[in-house]
Amino acid sequence: MASTTFKIWRGERGQGAFTDYATEVTEGMVVLDAVHQIQASEAGDLAVRWNCKAGKCGSCSAEINGRPKLMCMTRMDELPAGEAVTIEPMRAFPHVRDLVTDVSWNYEVKKKIKKFTPRPPDAPDGTWRMAQADVDRVQEFRKCIECYLCQDVCHVLRDHHKHDEFIGPRFLVYAAALEMHPLDTEDRLRDLKDNHSIGYCNITKCCTSACPEHITITDNAIIPLKERVVDEFYDPVVKLVRLLRGKK
């Protein structure tokens, strides 16, 4: 099959430029295969992060033709035939080298979210009972592979650099999974409002379109969390009713 040109961002710590490489594209190939071919032939030190090559680990995030994608799940035949392909690192995180960025900020953010705290077990043998219907939503959130593509496209992080204040869609999903976990007893709403700045999200839904796991980040996680925050802190009637009903 035909040889295709790849314009790959090369450089260190934010300094860099596109370098052109040509490599053969064969049937069924994904972008990560092309990067590996280039690595094995002409650019032995081309830095790229990947692990599973099956869309399960969330390591190979990049911007392909300007779009947030997993390199291992982007087939060459879904890109315009005969045109050069550009591959750049994610832009919302500090650059390390070539296609690799420093995503350690995400790990720091996660630590700040209060951990899972279950209610006492339901049965004498220390186990719990949960209906499947009550965990479906949480399971959707727990599909997250931590690729951070949603963080990459969120304008609050990407353009406004609010990394110190805003936790980003990935961790709103994480907080939602904890808040909606049937066994959890912790309250994270004040943190979400005051320390995690959920209010910065203006529901553009870019994160949802970027998510390779098809998690409906905005509708299923962020909006319900926003509603809970509003109920908790801004709506006295709801608050009173809740209090009378004895709910959290």
């Binding site: 064969t26 190939m29 692990n51």
Partner: protein, 605 residues
């Protein structure tokens, strides 16, 4: 001289998949200082790819299950080459380890009465695998990761260990380098736990990620530890075969557990043709009964598609070799057919096997709810590994512990699906606890800078080779193809002898391989360092496979196609001899205590 940063821990855990995370959590719970080294980023380790589930005899779906049945299933699957003590502990402790995950936030699929749902899997008598759709590994690693980050563990991400450091025999630390900056890090620690996973990258067609280069096996071997059972490599029967770029990617056994069937190009369910004697009484002899089994009918026996992996893989290989394969050299795995039996079958498949559905849709343009998949064997797992004490997981070298895939014993000659995730939890915990105890009881480690400096210097050598040295990638690819062809799923004397010669030549080339660029995030350099591990494990596998002149479990020899009772009495040990060459030893399997023997007998029917 190479510079390095010094870091001290009481327990150093190398590897951050399920076993490493569980070990780190267990060690930290005893109050010692724990360091956790991840070859990649935290949460990306190979455990993430496990699909089917974690085996634990909780009896939530079928209350006839118990640890005794699980123990007997594991031993039968392993052809009695297993370390029976490990099989016993594993079967007894797995249920608690799974429930503990729930207490840490894991959300398993549920039974109608709200308990953890369990599914059928090959070789397990009753539905036993706790699971979350077909992404159980992700659930497990994320649960452990999210729990671990609140336990005061020091996490070293994208750090690769290049050598263990010893004080006399005792392991007292490790020399490592961080990928991002390319700088060396010297760890000193009272005890070290290896949890580095497997060796799949020694083969061309594999379901394993790039990290699986046998690091732990090789580090332990070079520190003088025994490896055992290295000939037992598991070729998973169902990997993707087309397109070439995805060849080897796993297709979960869960597909067959949910009713998927294997057919050849003539449309025949060939698995009914060859049911081994010791499984006959447990296996359905008609399609109807097999279907009922997958749908939870307790009176039905399992379909032959759910026989052990080694057997299914060889049957597929046979169909292909005899000309009844699919167009791209596999056979058909069909789950779409269940629409004949179930209303809303397409929705059912998407709900039960979501990752498989997306994987085939995205990578192969195939809708598995309407079209059969093409599948064939893929290198998946190594049963062999570092020899450990069943209770403490200590290796034959003091201060060095091992857990998970890099340790050997639990699975014998063949691992049952689902026994790996539970293995990681049960023995990860044990390794962490015993390593912490060892570190507390022994004098503080003394690490000599000399050995560390030598390790660093040899790691840097690929940068200093003059002329235009060969790049490491080509050597790695050649090694993988060679192992696949000569020491793969069907083996024979002549080919393996040839493999030894080829390995010697590749070793020689690896010594002269060179890399370009600088030390920061340089994958070429990393590949050069991985080569030593790959060569070591490849040689160990080949030598052990030559020594075992019979066929058993994952090890199949064309020239000795049958099981030989004389080989049932020992494990093959590989260790480094005084002259630096690889030595073999036949190590008798200790006799099983009467109570365990009795369980095996009672479960035979």
């Amino acid at each position: 001289m190479a510079d390095f940063e010094r870091v001290e821990h009481d327990v150093l855990v190398i590897g951050a998949g399920g076993a490493g995370l569980r070990a780190a959590i267990a060690a930290a719970a005893t109050g010692v200082r724990v360091g956790l080294v991840c070859k990649s980023l935290l949460g990306k380790a190979h455990t993430v790819m496990a699909e089917g589930g974690a085996a634990a005899a909780m009896g939530n779906v079928d209350d006839r299950d118990s640890w005794r049945v699980h123990f007997a299933d594991t031993m039968r699957g392993g052809q009695y080459m297993n370390n029976w003590r490990m099989a016993e502990l594993h079967a007894q402790e797995a249920p608690d380890r799974i429930r503990e995950l729930e207490a840490w936030g894991a959300v398993f699929d549920r039974t109608p009465d709200g308990r953890i749902l369990q599914r059928n899997f090959g070789g397990h008598r009753y539905p036993r695998l706790a699971h979350v759709g077909d992404r159980t590994g992700l659930e497990m690693i994320r649960t452990l990761q999210d729990h671990a980050i609140h336990q005061g563990i020091d996490v070293h991400m994208e750090v690769t260990v290049i050598q263990l450091l010893q004080d006399g025999e005792r392991v007292v630390g490790a020399m490592a380098y961080d990928r991002e900056r390319g700088r060396f890090r010297l760890f000193s620690s009272g005890a070290v736990v290896l949890a580095t996973g497997g060796i799949g990258r020694a083969f061309d067609i594999t379901s394993n990620s790039w990290e699986y280069t046998g690091d732990g096996h090789s580090l332990a071997y070079h520190a003088g530890a025994d490896l055992i059972d290295m000939e037992f490599v598991q070729f998973h029967p169902t990997g993707m075969v087309w397109p070439p770029s995805v060849r080897g990617i796993l297709v979960t056994e869960g597909v067959r557990g949910e009713g998927g069937v294997l057919r050849n190009s003539e449309g025949k369910r060939f698995m009914f043709d060859d049911i081994p004697e010791n499984y006959r009484s447990q296996t359905a002899d008609n399609e109807e009964e097999g279907w009922r089994y997958t749908q939870g009918d307790k009176s039905a026996r399992r379909p032959p598609e759910l026989l052990t992996r080694d057997h299914v893989a060889r049957c597929i290989q046979r169909e292909v070799r005899e000309g009844r394969g699919s167009p791209h050299g596999g056979v058909y795995l069909d789950i779409a057919w269940i629409k004949e039996r179930l209303p809303k079958a397409a929705e059912h498949i998407k709900k039960k096997l979501p990752s498989m559905y997306h994987q085939f849709m995205q990578l192969a343009n195939i809708d598995i709810t309407t079209t059969p998949m093409e599948v064939g064997p893929t290198t998946h797992y190594i049963m062999g590994g570092i020899r450990v004490d069943g209770d403490s997981q200590m290796t034959s070298v003091p201060g060095l512990f091992a857990a998970g895939e890099c340790a050997a014993g639990l699975h014998g000659a063949n691992r049952l699906g689902g026994n790996s995730l539970s293995d990681l939890l049960v023995f990860g915990k044990r390794a962490g606890e015993y390593a912490a105890q060892f570190a507390r009881e022994q004098p503080a480690p003394r690490v000599e800078a000399g050995a560390a400096e030598a390790a660093a210097a040899s790691a840097l050598a690929p940068f200093e080779r003059d002329g235009s040295p060969e790049a490491p990638y080509a050597i790695q690819h050649e090694l993988q193809r060679m192992m696949q062809d000569l020491v793969g799923i069907v083996r024979q004397e002549g080919e393996m002898q040839q493999a030894l010669d080829r390995l010697a030549a590749l070793s020689e080339r690896a010594q002269h391989a060179g890399v370009h660029g600088n030390r920061e995030y340089n994958p070429g350099w990393h590949t050069a360092l991985d080569l030593r591990h790959l060569l070591t494990v490849s040689e160990a596998i080949t030598l052990a496979a030559l020594e075992r002149k019979e066929s058993r479990g994952g090890h199949f020899r064309d020239d000795y196609p049958d099981k030989d009772a004389a080989y049932a009495t020992f494990n093959i040990v590989v260790r480094r001899g005084a002259d630096g060459t690889m030595q073999l030893e036949r190590r008798p399997i200790p006799p099983m205590p009467d109570d365990l023997q009795a369980i095996i007998e009672e479960q035979k029917s």
